[in-house]
Each structure stands twice: as C-alpha cells, then as structure tokens.
Amino acid sequence: MNGLLLTTQQALQLLLYGDAELWSIVLLSFSVSLKAILLTTPFGLLLAFGLHHGNFPGIRFILAFFNSLLSVPTVVVGLFLYVLLTRQGPFGDLKLLFTQSAMVIGQMILCFPVLVALGYAAIQAADRRVWETSRTLGAPTWYTILTIFYEVRFGLLAAVLTGFGRVISEVGISMMVGGNIMGYTRNITTAIALETSKGEFAQGIALGLVLLSLSFLLTAFLSYIQSKKGVIT
C-alpha cells in the first residue's frame, strides 16, 4: 500500500509545482489535439449527415467500415503516415516528418472515423420531422442541417468529446511522426511514454492526472455552455 500512496503523493506534488517545461508540453498537447478535432469535426459530421440522408445502398458497409476503423491502433496510423511522409515517400518533399503539423494530420485521420460513426448514431436518432419541418418552413439546406445538429447536439457533443479523447490520449502517432522531440514535438503522452520507459511511474501518473484534470475542465465548460443554450434532456 505504501508504494501506491507514495507514488500518488509524488504525482500530486509534481502537479502543484508544475514548472514551465511541464506546461509547455501540456500546451503542445492541447493545441495539436484541439486543432485536429476542430478541423475534422465539420467534415466528419457532414459526412455522417450525408450517409444518413443519402440513404443509398451499401450504407451499412460503409458504416461498418468506419466503425472498424475505431479498432486501428494509433501506431498503425502513425506508421502509415510515416511511410507517406518519409523523405523518399510520396510526400517527403513537404518535410513534414517530426513536426507538429504531421501530428495534427495524423490525429485528424484518427478522429475522423469517430466523428462519422458516432455522428451518424446521433443523427439517425433525430425525428424525421425535424428535417421535414425545417424544409417546409423554407430553410435552406445548410440551415436545416444546422437545425438537425442542434436537435441532436447532446449526441454530437458526445461524438466530438470522444474524438477529442481519442486524439489527446493517443501516443502512437505523436511518437511516430512527431518524434517526441523535446520542446518541439513532445506532448503529454509521449512524455508519459518516456517517463514510463525510464521507470518513473510517478511522473507518468502525474502527467496523466494533469491531462485528466484539464480535460475535465474543458468538458465541464462545454457542457455548461450547452446547458446555457437550451434544455438538454
């Protein structure tokens, strides 16, 4: 029991005395992952909407495909992107490897299927009359889509938060195409991986707690905003 208590105590101390280096790592994590999720959300949700309202055959398979993409380990996405971005790869000339941009791209690939699969699940739960009522009252298509999104906003928020959780907690892509370069592409998860490989479990758990608390603040804030804008349940 002592070991656990000690480790937790150490972790909490590290949290409180968080130095500049720690916070730069944290900022990098959030800036990369927020960029990734914000850039992907519109496309993911629009595709989800298109899949539902297009109603074409084979849709079940496309959905199953996106759902199974959720099972792809992050490091495989990282490897795949690495093969594309490596110097002699097709996009080697862009010199994106081991940059934050590469991390953002990788994380966008990672959260896209989440947004499509869970966005679809949310949208299909909407009453058909939302679409009909909005259209018949003269709303243009884009406004109708926004109306539907607003009606199922709780489900969509869950989709976005799940996507965000997936990218902020991933380590495979950040490691493969970010490279865990200190002060440049090191984020919370690659830092945790490093500490873990050194056997510094206290640091690892501490960084995990930092991530958890900041995510909690973000999530609580979002759900507060949402509650301000309308009744949910």
Binding site: E132, T133, S134, R135, T136, L137, G138, E151, G230, V231
Partner: protein, 217 residues
C-alpha cells in the same frame, strides 16, 4: 376567377406493393380552400407530403401557368411557396417564440418587420403569455397551436394543414377557422384534412373524399 396556382397531375404512390395513390389530380386555386377527408390510412397525409415535396411520388407532374413540369424538377422551386403542417405537430427544442419565428429569417423581411410580425402572430394565436416557455413542456393542444402559428405567419401561397385542430379546444378551433378564413381572403390556397368535416363547413369551397387511391367529390 383567376387560374390555378399549381395543378398536380397523375400522382402515383406505392408503399410495399400497396397502391396508396392512383393517378390523383388536384388543382390548387388561390383564395380557395379544399377539404380532404378519407378513412384512416387512405393516403391523405401521403398526398399532402407529396404536394409539399416531402415525400417522393412514383409519378407526378405539375402544371404551372399552363406548362407541364416533372415533379422532381420543379419541386425545389415551388416548395418555397408551399408549407405543410404535420398531423402530429413537431416543435424544435427552444421557446415558443423561437419556434414561431423559425421561418421568418428566410424571408426578405427586415429585422424590425420580423419582430412586428412575430408579436402580432403570437397575439392573434393567444400565445403571448407563453412566448418564453420551452416548447417541449407545452400541452398537446398548445403545441398544435404553436405549429399552426409558425406556418401561417409565413404567408405562403399554399398551406397544407393535416388535421390542424384535432387537439385544440373549442375556442382555439374557432380562432383557427377565423384565421384560415382571413388567409383565404388574402389569396392563399389552403388544403385541410380532417375527420370532422363539420368544423370547416363554412370554410371549404370543395370537399374531396380519398377512397381507394382516388379523389371523389
């Protein structure tokens, strides 16, 4: 009497081998009110939804100022003139006010005019006191009144009302009939379905009965 706004020709609709509508023709004249009756499941709702562009017919043509058009082609253009009111009212989440104002933002009215129009509409429907209430807490009849108000406030050329008063109390029903009368005089073409034709006795210019996929006068 002026010519018809839209004439629908040969509407056909089949659900799972069930021919619901068999070559239905319907002319919509301005300032006229059609009353549509028929048994449960006869296809009244389906017909109105096709006219409103919300349901795809197997076949249908639309005549506008003497010219025939394919349903599919012309619907995106004329659907703006046609509003369908659902049999089971659907309100967006939000307040009564925001629901009634929903369609106004797509009109060419200025902000000031919209506010004015909203205020007048709420008054006429007796909803002013409820303006700020959340729509999902309303009683069944009030929901129907809100949906009705949300539709007529837009003054479309054609208004399709699917059982508009089924849950309203007598007072609201009479108010609604008065409003429909006024809209008719203003030149709107109105179609009403109802299982209680007596309500609209003075209003309807013509009554059709939908039987076996055909309209009978």
């Amino acid at each position: 009497m002026s010519g018809p706004l839209f004439v629908f020709h040969g509407i056909e609709k089949t659900f799972a081998e069930d021919e619901i509508l068999r070559k239905v023709d319907l002319s919509l004249y301005p300032a006229k009110c059609i009353l549509l009756t028929g048994k449960n499941g006869s296809g009244k709702t389906t017909l109105l939804k096709i006219i409103a562009g919300l349901e795809k017919p197997e076949k249908a043509e639309i005549e506008i100022s003497g010219k025939l058009h394919c349903w599919k082609k012309v619907m995106p253009i004329i659907r703006k003139e046609i509003i369908y009111l659902h049999q089971q009212a659907f309100l967006f989440s939000g307040t009564v006010e925001s629901n009634v104002a929903y369609g106004l933002r797509f009109t060419s009215l200025t902000r000031e005019q919209r506010r004015e129009s909203l205020k007048k509409a709420l008054e006429r429907s007796g909803l002013t006191d409820l303006a700020k209430q959340q729509a999902n807490t309303l009683s069944g009849g009030v929901q129907q009144r809100v949906a009705f108000t949300r539709a007529w406030i837009l003054k479309p050329k054609v208004l399709l009302l699917d059982e508009p008063v089924s849950n309203m109390d007598q007072e609201s029903r009479e108010k609604a009939c008065l409003l429909i009368q006024r809209m008719k005089s203003a030149g709107m073409s109105i179609v009403i379905t109802s299982h209680v034709p007596q309500y609209f006795d003075g209003l309807a210019d013509v009554q059709f009965d939908l039987v076996n996929g055909k309209l009978l006068q």
